[in-house]
């Protein structure tokens, strides 16, 4: 069954990169993209994706706030945080906000596919360097 993914990052070039990395799995479909937290919440509520790949540091509404709202508006969607913050404190905040997975951007090429695979099956996935 196809895993439907919403990609959220404020930098289009990063969204391009995430699309390229995720495009390697024929069973996954990128249903849409969003450039900030507000757009992410609206699109998640509307599209009900299986997985939301969500950046933290974004304009208008941060990924953490968006994470909390997506949990309420699309409770079946799992959230995978993909961020530059290589920090246990930030990871704890994200998990408390309702994320199922946490990947540091510098490890994305190594961890992203395994993380999406895990969270799509409602399993946790977290890695940090520090």
């Amino acid at each position: 069954m196809t895993v439907r993914i919403l990609v959220v990052d404020d930098h289009p070039v990063v969204r391009h990169g995430l699309r390229t990395l995720l495009g390697g799995n024929p069973n996954w479909e990128i249903v849409d993209e969003a450039a900030d937290g507000i757009e992410a919440v609206a699109k998640a509520a509307n599209l009900k994706p299986d997985v939301v790949v969500l950046d933290i540091t974004m304009p208008n509404m941060s990924g953490l706030e968006a994470c909390r709202l997506i949990r309420k508006k699309a409770p079946a969607s799992e959230i995978l945080i993909v961020t530059q913050h290589d920090s246990p404190h930030m990871m704890r905040e994200a998990m408390e906000a309702g994320a199922r997975g946490y990947v540091v951007k510098s490890n994305a090429s190594r961890d992203l596919l395994a993380a999406v695979e895990a969270v799509s099956q409602h399993l946790p996935f977290t890695t940090l360097n520090v």
Binding site: P12, V13, G17, L18, S109
Partner: protein, 231 residues
């Protein structure tokens, strides 16, 4: 013949995005990728790409220092600097280092292809803010002589800038020596010269200097950032 491009960014997900963006353009190919400035210089030396695209905030050797080394070695080297900020200081340093293109990461999907096209035609490509600054500097010089010159930083050599970055990233003199293929004594001499030139007495001063001057970039947790800021 294809235009050969080298891409350097420490985040692979960004490199994937840049590759996807540029490879979609007919007649262009990515001849190499690098994850820091040092690797970019090494690969540029081996492969002689037509255009080098360098992220500013990279570990080991940042994009501005790498630009400076590339253009010193080959003044014809065409470098586009990719940055998350277009602060006056980063713009000034990028121009001073010899970059011919300046693109904000947030606008890369829109501007990078235009920037590469411009450099391919031996033109320069800058954001409107850089253009304004260059023009303002030109007009100021014309009208006011050197009165409007920004305050000059102490003159540091390219090697000293490399050492500052490595020290500010937490490396010891011995580790600096290892990375730069120097003796520990030479690395310590660079360190003491830097401290003397800048009038510093502690590594803390050096780290603050490195952050303020964009030699290293630090991650700021979301709760400490200004609303609307992006990274």
């Amino acid at each position: 013949m294809k235009l050969r491009i080298l891409i350097a960014d420490d985040h692979e997900v960004v490199r994937r995005g840049l590759c996807a963006l540029l490879q979609a353009h007919e007649g262009w190919e990515i001849c190499a990728e690098a994850k820091d400035g040092r690797e970019a210089i090494e690969k540029a030396g081996q492969l002689k790409p037509d255009i080098v695209i360098l992220d500013v905030g990279m570990p080991n050797l940042n994009g501005l220092a790498a630009t400076r080394q590339l253009t010193q070695h080959d003044p014809q080297c065409k470098v586009i600097v990719l940055t998350i900020t277009d602060s006056d200081q980063v713009i000034r340093e990028a121009l001073d280092a010899g970059a011919r293109g300046f693109v904000l990461k947030s606008d890369a999907a829109r501007d990078l292809v235009s920037a590469v096209e411009a450099l391919q035609l031996n033109r320069m490509f800058f954001t409107p803010r850089v253009n304004d600054m260059v023009l303002a500097g030109f007009l100021d010089k014309g009208h006011n002589g050197s009165n409007s010159e920004p305050p000059r930083l102490p003159k540091l050599t390219a090697r000293e800038r490399e050492v500052i970055q490595l020290l500010a990233e937490g490396k010891s003199s011995k580790e600096v020596a290892c990375v730069l293929n120097l003796s520990t004594k030479t690395a310590e001499t660079h360190r003491s010269n830097i401290m003397r030139k800048l009038g510093f007495h502690s590594i803390r001063d050096l780290v603050v200097y490195a952050v303020k001057n964009n030699i290293i970039q630090v991650q700021v947790p979301t709760q400490y950032q200004n609303p609307g800021s992006a990274a």
